[in-house]
């Protein structure tokens, strides 16, 4: 009979179907979990890799973002908390750095490493204030710490002093670093920046060139070399090549775009220079260098109204007072605004006379390098013409000769009080107390 063979199949089928379906669901869920986990792991690893690359390029903001993304996937990673803490410290975000160090402690990270990082945090946050150079050198060269100076400590000290405008001492840490690790590119880069600020162009050039030996596309070094080629040799071809290489890596950097604009301007391509400068101003309306350049271009092109507009922006932003006063005087005169022209011409003449006095005072200070008053006098004159950063260096130099030089303390108190970085407010207070006497 045909029906006798069919009886068990529907039951088995129903059970098999349910089993298979359940298995499929479980497999699906499992797969989803695995896929999610794999995806999360990959995303985390990717974030970590990106963070490492960003740190290598000194792009701390990007690195911090990538590390936060990593921790979003793996919040209990003590290694990454530590790395993030260090990166935040290097970037000057001290409070958040401290938070992540606490988390490291909680997660059981190497306590000695955390303790040391906290020490570095306090050192950098305080600007190494209150510590003498000899004391810090002893710390750096302490053989109990390591046979050779620790680059992490040296970088911390450099950052601490750099922010506090102790440029010569900031350079000292980098010198020591390079004594022991001459092929490291970062100290060359940072020392080059210091040399530039102190107008030691030859030394800056040597350091930036050394950076490119191992990092041929390092944009900051390329920009630095471009600026030196432009300002010291007016080699437009060479300068342009550096700026273009820098822009290939960091296309929106305003300094490189402005440098390229100045090269085009120098070579007579005013239209291109105008566009480049305008491009910088489109993103930052008050960019002093771009405003000054555009004002100069418009003045030379005969567009006096536009020249006036941009020179005013440059003036308000604190551009070189002599240059902007002279240019404004000329533009006002061309547009028949004689009273304004006369006013700016008088101001230009006064500033120029002061600059001549600075030159003479500088020669005097160089002849008497151990005379604190001489150094401070140069600083005072620099302040009069708006060169406040340079003035600060002269006052600091006076203080290395006479730590109680009150007029230098008073000037530095004013200088630091005007800085926008809140870390420098404490510095202002320190100098104010010293200025008022024992």
């Amino acid at each position: 009979m045909e029906t006798a063979n069919r009886a068990p199949r529907p039951f088995i089928k129903r059970r098999s179907f349910r089993f298979v379906a359940a298995a499929l669901v479980l497999i699906g869920i499992g797969s989803a979990i695995v896929a999610y986990t794999v995806r999360a792991n990959r995303a985390a690893e990717r974030s970590r890799a990106q963070a490492d690359q960003a740190i290598e390029r000194l792009e701390f903001s990007k690195a911090i973002e990538h590390l936060r993304n990593y921790l979003a996937e793996r919040p209990a990673s003590p290694d990454v908390h530590f790395l993030l803490a260090r990166t935040l410290r290097r970037d000057g975000q001290f409070d958040e750095c401290a938070n992540h160090l606490e988390e490291c402690k909680r997660l059981g990270y190497d306590p000695e490493a955390v303790r040391r990082e906290m020490m570095l945090l306090e050192l950098q946050r305080s600007g190494a204030r209150g510590r003498s150079t000899d004391e810090l050198i002893a710390m750096v060269r302490d053989p109990k710490q390591s046979p050779a100076p620790d680059p992490v400590l040296l970088e911390t000290l450099y950052r601490a002093d750099f922010v506090m405008r102790n440029l010569d001492r900031a350079a000292l840490w980098l010198h020591i670093w390079l004594e022991h690790y001459p092929n490291d590119w970062m100290p060359h880069l940072w020392r080059g920046e210091i040399h530039e600020k102190l107008l030691r162009h030859d030394r800056a050039q040597a350091d930036f060139a050394q950076v490119l030996e191992s990092r041929p596309d390092q944009p900051q070094a390329l920009r630095g070399l471009g600026q030196i080629a432009l300002s010291q040799r007016t080699d437009y071809v060479e300068a342009e090549s550096y700026f273009r290489r820098s822009l290939a890596v960091a296309p929106r950097h305003p300094d490189a775009r402005l440098g390229l604009a100045m090269c085009r301007y120098g070579r007579g391509d005013l239209n291109d220079a105008r566009q480049l400068a305008q491009g910088v101003l489109d993103e930052n309306y008050t960019h002093i260098g771009a405003a000054m350049l555009l004002g100069t271009i418009e003045a030379e092109s005969g567009n006096q109204d536009e020249a006036l507009r941009w020179l005013r922006v440059a003036e308000k932003g604190g551009a070189n007072p002599q240059a902007v006063c002279y240019q404004l005087a000329q533009v006002f005169r061309r547009t028949g605004q004689t009273a304004d022209a006369d006013r700016y011409e008088r101001k230009f003449t006064e500033l120029r006379d002061t600059q001549r006095a600075i030159d003479a005072a500088t020669r005097g200070a160089q002849r008497e390098p151990n005379n604190a008053d001489r150094q401070a006098e140069v600083g005072r004159l620099c302040l009069a013409v708006g060169q406040s950063d340079l003035a600060a260096q002269w006052f600091l130099k006076a203080l290395t000769i006479d730590p109680n030089h009150r007029s230098s303390h008073a000037a530095l108190a004013d200088y630091f009080a005007r800085q926008t970085d809140p870390r420098l407010a404490g510095r202002a207070e320190f100098h104010r107390k010293k200025a008022s006497g024992p």
């Binding site: 822009l247 490189a256 301007y265 120098g266 070579r267 007579g268 291109d272 491009g279 030379e300 005969g302």
Partner: protein, 587 residues
């Protein structure tokens, strides 16, 4: 949605995104920051060579020497010498006077001595002969000499000669081809405690019909005031002029050709190296521009009767676009932008740009080195002798610059530098007030392919072929004679003006109108560096075109001549007040 439709949508989206991005990247006003700009300079649009060095076969064998072998590193050694081109014997050919320089003598090598100056007579066909002894000029060098300025100061029709230098100057009156030293009774007294004259310019400054004289002086260096200075690599080198006090410049008013009186009211001191006399504000009076080394350049506007007001800073010609004074040496002026006004060109030191100041009228100038393409050559040059010369005779003044460092060991390593030849890119019909120059040195000729210690340069038509030639003096290197061998397409007319009084009508303005084209030239005093150029003017003419020449004399008289009267492809002399030109040479 099917897979194929999904893919289509995805690619379309990508295409649109890409297309829009590209459009944004290339639309006006959205030039990417890394766009490659067009190349504005180095336009070799000239078939060279423009100049041929014909020195070797010319008989012009002469070297200005500065005495640096005494190893003093004295700033005196750095200035070099000039060139004067003038027709001393009225044969219609420009002769060449060359100051010889000097050296240090005595047991301590601190006695100043002059090397001989030389006058070379132009024999024609690019041959020259030393006639110094024949014409009464000193055979030996009377003093350490620098520059020369030629002018008919006594209005007798014969061009006289002033020689400048350290310790004194000398005035030689030309008595029909024979020179007499009249310095002693000339009244050319020193304006300050010591004498170091460099450049000089002649021109009637008080409208009395007699050429006056502006002599610029340098600094108060002497062996009693000789600091040791370090150059690059901390080795001894020439000091900067900033370490010395500037000497007063001197304005001498001509007393009817008999002598001069010093009148320096309103004339400031400065380390002067270049001087130019010309009507820079278009009021019919000769003004004065002084190129100073490391301080403001001066623009003296003549307010009448030789009363001057110095307005260099206000006028925008004292320094660069930021008002910074340069190490200025040479100067010239021309209507280079078609405005009809004289614009100024000044050569400067290394680290600075040579400065072009375009004349906007009303004693206002705009610093225009970059927009004009001058700045494109960079800032390594130390420029000296210079001149606006229309080497290609297209009616637009071009530019020549002699360069050469002053330091023994410059940071760049190279004392000698190449000369520069700029070509004006102005065409007929271009808007007035704009000019652009292209560096055509590569087509300049062999001289431009080698480096030199360039100093004074004088410009003139040495073979009367309507093309401007150049004579360049170098330090410790032979003088060079550059013959203009460019083949212009244009014709020309050359004008020699003879004023009633003064005979050399500095300040005369000549305007040639030819169809839509207008060329404006003027007779200038001084100019270049320590040098004196051909007083004649050459105008370019389109082949066969009619033209009209208008002369505004310093006296105010205006005369006009058409092409029928003047002709073409020749020189003519125009005497003030006469209706017809005279053949050239005349007198």
């Amino acid at each position: 949605m099917s897979l194929s439709r999904t893919r289509l949508a995805l690619f379309s989206t990508l295409f649109l995104i890409t297309t829009v991005s590209c459009q944004r990247a290339t639309a006006p006003g959205h030039t990417p920051a890394t766009s490659v700009p067009s190349e504005p300079g180095d336009d070799v649009s000239v078939r060279g060579p423009v100049f041929a060095d014909v020195t070797a076969a010319s008989g012009l064998a002469f070297t200005y020497r500065n005495g640096e072998d005494a190893d003093h590193q004295a700033i005196l050694e750095s200035l070099g010498g000039g060139v004067a081109l003038f027709d001393y014997d009225h044969d219609g050919l420009l002769d060449i006077f060359l100051p010889g320089g000097g050296y240090f003598d005595g047991p301590d090598k601190k006695k100043f001595r002059g090397h001989p100056n030389r006058l070379f007579r132009n024999l024609g066909e690019w041959k020259f002969r030393d006639v110094t002894a024949d014409c009464g000029l000193p055979i030996d060098g009377p003093f350490y000499s620098h520059g020369a300025a030629a002018s008919d100061y006594d209005n007798d029709g014969w061009t006289d000669l002033l020689v400048t230098g350290y310790g004194r100057l000398a005035l030689y009156r030309n008595d029909k081809g024979h020179f007499v030293d009249v310095t002693a009774n000339s009244g050319l007294k020193d304006p300050g405690a010591m004498h170091w004259s460099t450049s000089a310019g002649w021109g009637d400054l008080n409208a009395d019909g007699w050429p006056d004289l502006l002599v610029v002086h340098y600094v108060n260096w002497s062996f009693q005031n000789h600091p040791a200075c370090d150059g690059a690599n901390k080795k001894p080198d020439i000091c900067s002029p900033s370490l010395f006090e500037p000497l007063p410049h001197a304005l001498y008013l001509n007393q009817t050709g008999k002598n001069f009186t010093l009148q320096s009211n309103g004339i400031k001191a400065g380390p002067g190296l270049g001087v130019l006399l010309a009507d820079l504000d278009g009021d019919g009076r000769n003004d004065i521009y002084v190129a100073n080394d490391r301080t403001d350049n001066y623009l003296y506007i003549n307010r009448g009767m030789a009363a001057f007001e110095e307005i260099g800073l206000r006028a925008g010609v004292s320094g660069d676009e930021a008002g910074r004074p340069g190490g200025s040496m040479g100067v010239d002026a021309a209507d280079c932008d078609g405005s009809g006004r004289l614009s100024l060109f000044v050569t400067n030191f290394a680290g600075e740009e040579h400065a072009l100041y375009l004349n906007q009228g009303a004693s206002r100038f705009t610093y225009s080195s970059r927009v004009a393409g001058i700045a494109a050559i960079g800032r390594r040059f130390v420029g000296f002798g210079t001149g606006f010369i229309d080497f290609d005779r297209d009616g637009a003044p071009d530019l020549f610059i002699a360069n050469g460092h002053v330091l023994r060991r410059p940071a760049s390593g190279a004392r000698n530098q190449d000369a520069i030849l700029f070509r004006s890119l102005r065409n007929t019909g271009d808007p007035a007030g704009r000019v652009r120059f292209a560096n055509v040195s590569a087509a300049g000729g062999d001289y431009f392919k080698t480096t030199h210690m360039g100093r004074g340069a004088a410009f003139g038509d040495l073979d009367n072929d309507g093309r401007i030639d150049i004579v360049v003096s170098h330090t410790n290197e032979p003088v060079v004679l550059l013959r203009n061998v460019f083949e212009p397409k244009s014709e020309w007319i050359g004008i020699s003006l003879i004023g009633k009084a003064p005979k050399d009508p500095v300040g005369a303005v000549l305007t040639l109108n030819e169809g839509d084209r207008r060329q404006v030239q003027t007779i200038k005093g001084g100019g270049s560096y320590m040098s004196s150029s051909d007083p004649r003017l050459v105008f370019a003419l389109a082949a066969g075109a009619n033209y009209r020449l208008t002369v505004r004399w310093p006296s105010g008289q205006v005369q006009s001549f058409d092409d029928a009267a003047l002709g073409r492809n020749r020189y003519v002399a125009i005497q003030e007040g006469e209706n017809a030109p005279r053949p050239f040479p005349t007198r």
